[in-house]
Symmetry: C2
Subunit: 222 residues, 2 copies
């Protein structure tokens, strides 16, 4: 293993560490809603700076690597993609903070109803996040494709959550402000899944050199 | 002007072109809501691929520039930031598409009320987008700071929109589904402003080497 290989390995590990912090933040933010746990919500908001620090560190390390080692095409592409991926991860951390903020507000009021679809959305979005990053570091096209496919499930769950919330609001106007906040939580989770999808699309681009980025579905001939 | 300077100039122009497409998309998406214009909404959804194409082109050009010219620290930092900024711009284009999608749905139902705060949110978010990119290509710290300051205005407008919508829903349950969709438009615009703020924070980091990225407000000693 050359020094450069080791440095590259270190970068990958840091990216995975950032990813695992983001995953935890998403998981715990939804827990703070479902279990009405204010302490947990506050911890997520505080801990977001750890994610942000890693974002800056990965950028710095990437730039240093490029400047010092002048990597060739494949590695250069990998390193610059890592920098783009941290932008998505950082936004996902912000979304976890948004969910935790809604938790703090929702926990001041009586519970609307037990949550079923939102924990399910969280589970899928979290899995997509983990798999998108694994697909990136292992250059696993099949896994990246699989992440992209799962995005539709999250969208469908979001639609069913929103429909149910609209029903509550129509039946009982006292639920309006709470139901709106829950609808935002569903939206944040949908956006987490969108970011994971973005990352997966970049992985396929990295492997294939083909632009499936920004396509609704992977083309049939891939 | 060296060949490298020209190439760098070309990259900047492409980034500004992408930014101006995103600005137009945001402006028109809100117009398609306010003026209930389905054709315009569909055009935004179609034209998003132009934004996505530029995203990929800028990435490709950046990687080629780095590989061929091996730019030194300052230029390298600038080019890699450009690649990160396109990630934000691309997401902003997606948000304009989301707004246009809500327009197509909202235009099928009677109008809820004339829009006042949403066009105002759009105006500020659009201005922030333009100024954040100008600040980047001109390395203008003052302008970047100014962008960051304006984010609070957008947040306040969003809160007042949401409060008004909750009032509608409580008063008249037949407004619920429409009001929810309008609330999503307000959320999308808030997120556009967040992305512009991200870009502005990266600009300050580029100039200062200081991490104000991810801080709520710039520190007093800057």
């Amino acid at each position: 293993m050359t020094v450069f290989d080791e440095e590259l390995q270190h970068l990958k590990e840091k990216l995975l560490r950032m990813g695992s912090l983001v995953e935890d933040a998403i998981k715990n933010s939804v827990l703070s809603v479902v279990e009405r746990d204010n302490d947990l919500a506050r911890r997520i908001i505080d801990d977001d700076r750890l994610i942000n620090t890693l974002d800056v560190e990965i950028d710095e390390e990437s730039i240093r690597l490029i400047a010092l080692r002048q990597p060739k095409a494949g590695d250069l592409r990998f390193i610059t993609m890592a920098m783009k991926i941290t932008t998505d991860l950082e936004r996902m951390g912000d979304l976890a903070v948004n969910i935790a903020e809604r938790a703090l507000e929702l926990n001041q009021e009586p519970i609307l109803k037990p949550y079923i679809d939102i924990p399910r959305m969280r589970e899928i979005a979290q899995g997509m996040t983990r798999d998108a990053l694994d697909a990136f570091v292992r250059k696993d096209k099949k896994l990246a494709m699989d992440v992209i496919m799962r995005d539709d499930e999250v969208d469908e769950l979001k639609h069913s959550v929103l429909q149910e919330l609209a029903f509550f609001m129509v039946q009982d106007p006292t639920t309006v402000t709470r139901a709106m906040k829950v609808s935002f939580v569903a939206q944040y989770l949908e956006r987490v899944a969108d970011h994971a999808t973005n990352i997966a699309e970049m992985v396929i681009y990295l492997i294939e050199g083909k632009i499936i980025r920004h396509m609704a579905m992977p083309p049939e001939n891939m």
